[in-house]
């Protein structure tokens, strides 16, 4: 897996295994990343370390993982606001709590 690289619509994506942790890579825009109030789930990318825990344990699979490892809200409608992601994120970087 670490030997693969894929071109994405929006830019060069490098798989996490290959990616130095803070390497600047261009990523595709995803929904509900930028607007805190409107988002059912909000991810604070400044703090997120792309560990993948939120994605792995979201019970409804509302979250997806981009190729660089960072989470994004793939299916906002699926979010049941269980706050599992809130509690399991080691970096206080995601919240699915109802606002």
């Amino acid at each position: 897996m670490s030997e693969k690289v894929e071109k994405n619509r929006d830019g060069l994506i490098i798989k996490q295994a290959d990616t130095p942790l803070k390497m600047q890579v261009e990523v595709n825009e995803v929904k509900y990343e930028g607007d805190y109030r409107k988002a059912p789930v909000f991810i604070f990318h400044d703090w997120c370390k792309k560990c993948g825990i939120c994605v792995a344990f979201c019970p409804t699979k509302a979250l997806g993982r981009k190729l660089d490892g960072s989470p994004f809200v793939e299916h906002p409608e699926k979010c049941i606001h269980c706050e599992t992601c809130d509690k399991l994120c080691p970096d206080f970087a995601i919240t699915g709590a109802k606002r």
Partner: protein, 191 residues
């Protein structure tokens, strides 16, 4: 600075982000120097930085004894991230060699320095299928353009390092040598 006018003592900084394999590159370069019978000191950043932050490895190679072990004014700088370029470029000597990975270093000034700007990571992935060899490519490129050690000892050091990866690493080295030989200065292109 070019190969022929190689001074007695060369200070090299290899910099980038933790995980780009720069510590390995530093080790290989140092070992090559050692094998060649030169004096070498190698130092690197420790601590939190090596767990993900910025990362650097300094190598001084000289045929005279090396006293002060830290590189302060670099004869050559390899910068694989923007951050490291920004941070360390000011300490590159005027006549020093700069090697940057254009995948990550987007903003850089063309000065009177010898600048080699290439998308090393992309090249590694395209030509070798993985970015894992970026460090070897950048290192070999550096060796080729500076002549800090001879190709022979670089090769030997690469082989010694992790025999199980020797083959791919040598491939990466050769690729880099070719790149170096074919290289057109961006200065000419862009100025």
């Amino acid at each position: 600075m070019s190969k022929s006018e190689k001074p007695q003592k060369l200070e090299v900084r290899l910099s980038g982000s933790g995980g780009q394999g720069l510590l390995t590159a530093g080790l290989i370069l140092s070992q090559a120097g050692a094998l060649q019978g030169l004096n070498v000191t190698q130092t690197q950043s420790y601590g939190a930085a090596s767990r993900g932050g910025s990362s650097r490895s300094d190598v001084i190679i000289s045929d005279e004894p090396i006293f002060y072990p830290e590189a302060t004014r670099f004869d050559a700088l390899v910068a694989l991230t923007q951050e490291s370029y920004d941070k360390f470029n000011p300490n590159l000597r005027e006549e020093g060699v700069l090697i940057i990975d254009t995948v990550f270093v987007k903003n850089y000034t063309i000065s009177s320095q010898d600048i080699y700007a290439l998308p090393f990571t992309q090249i590694a992935m395209e030509k070798l299928g993985t970015s894992l060899f970026t460090n070897i490519i950048a290192l070999s490129f550096l060796v080729k353009v500076t002549g800090i050690v001879t190709d022979k000892y670089l090769k030997e050091a690469i082989k010694d390092f992790k025999p199980e990866f020797a083959e791919s690493n040598i491939k990466a080295m050769k690729l880099a040598f070719k790149l170096a030989e074919e290289y057109d200065q961006p200065a000419q292109e862009k100025l």
